[in-house]
Symmetry: C2
Subunit: 313 residues, 2 copies
Amino acid sequence: MSFYYGVDIGGTTVKLGRFREDGTLLEKWELPTRLGENGKYILDDIAASILSKTVEAGGSPSQIQGVGMGIPGPILPDGCMEVGVNVGMRHAYPARELSERLGLPLVRCENDANVAALGEAWKGGGAGFSSIFLFTLGTGVGGGAVRDGRILSGSHGIAGEIGHTTVNLTETEACNCGNRGCLEQYASATGLVRVAQRALAASQAPSLLRDIKNLTAKDVMDAAKEGDSLAGEAAAVMGRYLAWAMSWVSHILDPEAFVIGGGVSAAGEFLLGLMREEYEKRTPMLSRKAELRLATLGNEAGIYGAVRLVLEP
Amino acid sequence: MSFYYGVDIGGTTVKLGRFREDGTLLEKWELPTRLGENGKYILDDIAASILSKTVEAGGSPSQIQGVGMGIPGPILPDGCMEVGVNVGMRHAYPARELSERLGLPLVRCENDANVAALGEAWKGGGAGFSSIFLFTLGTGVGGGAVRDGRILSGSHGIAGEIGHTTVNLTETEACNCGNRGCLEQYASATGLVRVAQRALAASQAPSLLRDIKNLTAKDVMDAAKEGDSLAGEAAAVMGRYLAWAMSWVSHILDPEAFVIGGGVSAAGEFLLGLMREEYEKRTPMLSRKAELRLATLGNEAGIYGAVRLVLEP
């Protein structure tokens, strides 16, 4: 019996999955993310949990064949995480450190957005395409590129970090990254709400959104679908900037398909519809356009992609 | 004795080089580009020229080991050039067609800008870096990405076509591609002249450029270096848009270095200086920035990159 694990480390929980060699998910569970000591507790907890799950399932530690991890933040080509703000790591080597705890040579680690892209490319909305670019529209905007089953990772660990490309040189509010006008300020869940709130404040136009306290991205998308014009304009801004970013990715990487995931992608075909026309307009050189698909793995994309790191041929 | 050839097909001339297996350029020459018959004459001329050069050099056709070609236009992954405007090809398979003429299995063909990037990555300004992105600033703006010695070619043949990314949503003049606000409209030789001429027409400010007939990009760059403020502003516009495009490439591909080539790159360090600050500002997530280098192979980049296609390990 062989044991393979995929691990998706987040700022509040660690998601884990046990897989068969053929990529079948056998069980999944979560741990709380214990911060502190430069990530020591996170890796201790993951190692202990993997060992105990292996034994519970009737195996022994020597039957663990590989563990893949996704982790939020840039990972350098040598495996170093210089700064992982959400997981409290600095100059850490998470793959090497977990490998030592498990006495296991095959531990691999990549940026979480890239790992999610690998998961979607393998088993999700990107399955069947030779190359994809995933946009993850959540609290922030993440991205990752996969070609021929492999993550396109960068020289400095920021390949796919599309959320912090500048799309608006005239923005006055600052992004979390310190810059102004990042894609994330318009196309994330928080960005969509921000744009809608600004529009609400700037006009007296009637809107379904005026009665909602604690406005969410879903509220904006739902109202837009119902024909609310203020919500529709906020959604259109999101769609236009996303489409523009897609056109850059096409001109630089030229993937076969785009896959759209993250919480905001629950808006489904309506969201894709907001992007399609502008994307086509911005890619006149592209006689055959990239396909546009929704992600299908939800928050399992990370564990699928992570285990794929150690199941690659 | 083994014969390797690199061929760089342009709209007016075809550049050819004969190489040793170790990549040493032994001789180079040019042919006029004979248009017509869907590229038939071009490939006839190349085949005849390669055969005669081989015999002249004391070899026989059976000693030709490989021919690589760069060709202007998108090449699909199956080798099809759907439309190559400058070389008059439509639904052509240039590599296969040259292979048939020469009775040689190893003929490869890629887009010319990607091939130039491969040349610079191998023997030029990008040598020593594991991944580069080349900007070619000539009549248009070309681009190409190389990682671990291989071209990153796209699914629809437009990877690296950075010249037709939109950088200005408010541009009123049209680009050759039909869109408005493409990078090429600001950062090519013709784009730089266009921006300077618009500035000259829009103001009465004194400028060295006012006395020059048939203004060239070199005139604008030279005047900018001498402190001419109108020329300096045109050059700054070019630098800012290029830097912005570099920041997209960093967030999407994250190359180790950028290499700047093409006629406008003769402006040297002055040009790089126009780009550096804006690039750093637009990449706050990038703790270590990509290096910025000038191309060194001039118009031999194409033949070097082309032969590299058939010398790859």
